[in-house]
């Protein structure tokens, strides 16, 4: 970062689900492009990034870091964001910041509804879900992950600990089998690149930016266990 007083200029990529989105954060604003294009990510990613950077008035030399949704999600999708992030970091000599795709879901629900206890759930296929439980940090600085994110049957998602807001298409896939979402539910929500920016900025500030080679997916599920 060239100037510590200004917030960093960040590029964010999220392609782990049927949604494909990019965001450019600069000078206190976020410009985003988002589409729901199953199988169309490879055609849309670079045009969206071109448009968003142009609208934000950001050129490659301005960028401080590339934030990418590292998963969990569709294996091919999480690799797409990671591979593209590696390439951008190499081309621009900037660090990468991997952020959980479930965190993007939780931050999105928090941004839209103000909910401060969120279970983010994605359909992991094969009758399983990916999930993470998030709640507001006591100091108001974003959301905190409660237990490690996991993959398993919907019945394994922890119950209790108060009332929750449910976010993500896991709630559409398993409407009867997940914990009750007493604070409300958005079963159609997709993780968005713009919601990678707040946790990405915190991680970058905390020195958690990594080299391009370490911009890797987090699958949660092993490659050959089935």
């Amino acid at each position: 970062m060239s100037d510590h007083k200004k917030p960093p200029v960040l590029i964010a990529l999220e392609t782990a689900t049927e949604g494909c989105s990019v965001a450019v954060a600069a000078a206190g604003t976020v410009v985003e492009r988002a589409d729901e294009t199953p199988r169309g990510h490879t055609a849309r990613l670079l045009p969206m990034l071109t448009e968003a950077m142009a609208e934000a008035g950001v050129t490659p030399g301005d960028v401080d870091a590339v934030v990418f949704g590292r998963g969990p999600g569709a294996f091919t999708g999480v690799r797409l964001a990671a591979s593209a992030a590696q390439a951008l970091c190499l081309a621009w000599s900037v660090p990468a910041v991997g952020v959980s795709t479930l965190a993007a879901l939780a931050y999105g629900a928090h941004r839209r509804t103000g909910a401060d206890r969120i279970i983010a759930v994605l359909d992991a296929r094969m009758d399983e879900a990916y999930w993470g439980r998030y709640r507001s940090a006591p100091n108001g600085a974003g959301l905190t992950l409660m237990e490690e994110e996991r993959v398993g049957t919907p019945e394994e998602v922890p119950r209790g600990g108060g009332d929750w807001f449910g976010a993500g298409r896991g709630f559409a896939a398993f409407p009867e089998r997940l914990p009750p979402a007493a604070l409300g539910c958005d079963p159609d929500a997709l993780p968005l690149a713009r919601d990678l920016i707040p946790p990405g900025a915190v991680a970058l500030q905390a020195g958690e930016g990594v080299d391009a080679a370490a911009a890797l997916p987090l699958y949660l599920r092993s490659a050959v266990h089935y």
Partner: protein
């Protein structure tokens, strides 16, 4: 166009290379995942994809360091668009296309089989088209007439298993390790000629297509009828290799006769088979044609051939748009020839 990066991730080798039209191949590096797939007896696509995303950036840095260049010096990127495993291709596609986009330089998605066809051009004394190419690997077995750069006609190909696949399956039937090619060849060296008899599939028919699945079944029967001892397993390996080599030699000879070409190039992993090389060299001397092999490391999957093909395509004016969708089943015949 002075410096082209090549990226290859179509199957189970991750590879990067740098090519310079003035100085030739500057560096190339391959990470083979063979050891990781060996316990499964074949390529596990998801494992392959996971390895590509871990290995690609380190390999790109390695070839840049070996060549003494910075990525900001690049003039273009060639990356493998297909054919291959969809998830594996996607890693190289997203990486290669996005790298070029980030650097503001052109790129081109390369056809993996065209890259194999052009690999001999990286050798000091490259064969000039027209020639016939025998492409023979774990994924492909085909004869292609190369009239000129970008002008290809598939003369024949396997209707079922690739020759390399037949080696892998035979290795399994004989209790040998994956990959089967080298293992079967080693055992074959201990076998006796004509101790067992296996068919030479489709050699009595006039066409140039191949079929290897019947041969695999014949091996199964031979194994079942044998005493199962090391001697008879070696005899079967010997005869299997002879059957595959005979088939490839007969069809290659026929392709040369049919096209009137006097040059044969051999590429792909099975092109490394010593017995195949020996037989083709004899055949060439007898019948007055020449046979060219890229060095072994350029026979198997590599990025040097992708960098070179990328260079040729970019120099001919081909350019990617921003869509880096892969083509897992891309046919050589669908490839656009350069406009002269």
């Amino acid at each position: 166009m002075n410096l082209i990066l090549g990226i290859e991730t179509s199957c189970d080798e991750t590879a990067a290379a740098l090519y310079c039209p003035r100085d030739g191949l500057l560096a190339h590096a391959v990470f083979s995942q063979v050891a990781e797939h060996a316990p499964y007896g074949g390529v596990v696509p998801e494992l392959a994809s996971r390895d590509h995303v871990r290995k690609l950036t380190p390999l790109v840095r390695r070839v840049a360091a070996e060549s003494g260049v910075a990525l900001s010096d690049l003039d273009g990127v060639g990356w493998t668009r297909g054919p291959g495993l969809p998830g594996a291709l996607m890693v190289g596609a997203a990486f290669g296309r996005t790298l070029a986009w980030g650097l503001g330089i052109p790129s081109v998605g390369v056809h993996h089989m065209e890259a194999h066809l052009l690999a001999p051009m990286l050798e000091p004394d490259p064969p000039e088209p027209p020639f016939v190419a025998l492409l023979v690997s774990g994924g492909h077995t085909m004869l292609v007439q190369v009239a000129a750069f970008g002008r290809y006609r598939v003369l024949g190909e396997s209707v079922d298993d690739a020759a390399g696949e037949a080696f892998d399956k035979t290795a399994r039937l004989l209790g040998l390790d994956y990959p089967g090619g080298p293992a079967v060849a080693r055992l074959a060296a201990e076998g006796r000629p004509s101790a067992v008899t296996l068919p030479r599939p489709m050699t009595t028919k006039p066409g140039l297509d191949f079929s290897f699945s019947g041969l695999k079944t014949a091996v199964l029967h031979a194994v079942q009828e044998s005493d199962g001892g090391p001697g008879s397993r070696a005899d079967i390996a010997h005869e299997f290799q002879e059957a595959v080599v005979d088939t490839l030699v007969i069809k290659s000879r026929r392709a040369l006769d049919r096209t009137g070409c006097r040059r044969l190039i051999v590429a792909g992993g099975v092109g490394a088979n010593a017995r195949l090389r020996e037989r083709l060299t004899e055949e060439a001397a007898e019948r007055g044609f020449t046979v060219h092999y890229p060095r072994l490391e350029l026979c198997t999957d590599n990025a040097a051939m992708v960098a070179y093909t990328g260079y040729r395509r970019l120099a001919a004016g081909f350019r990617d748009d921003m869509d880096f969708s892969v083509r897992p089943r891309w046919q050589l015949s669908e490839l656009a020839p350069p406009v002269v």
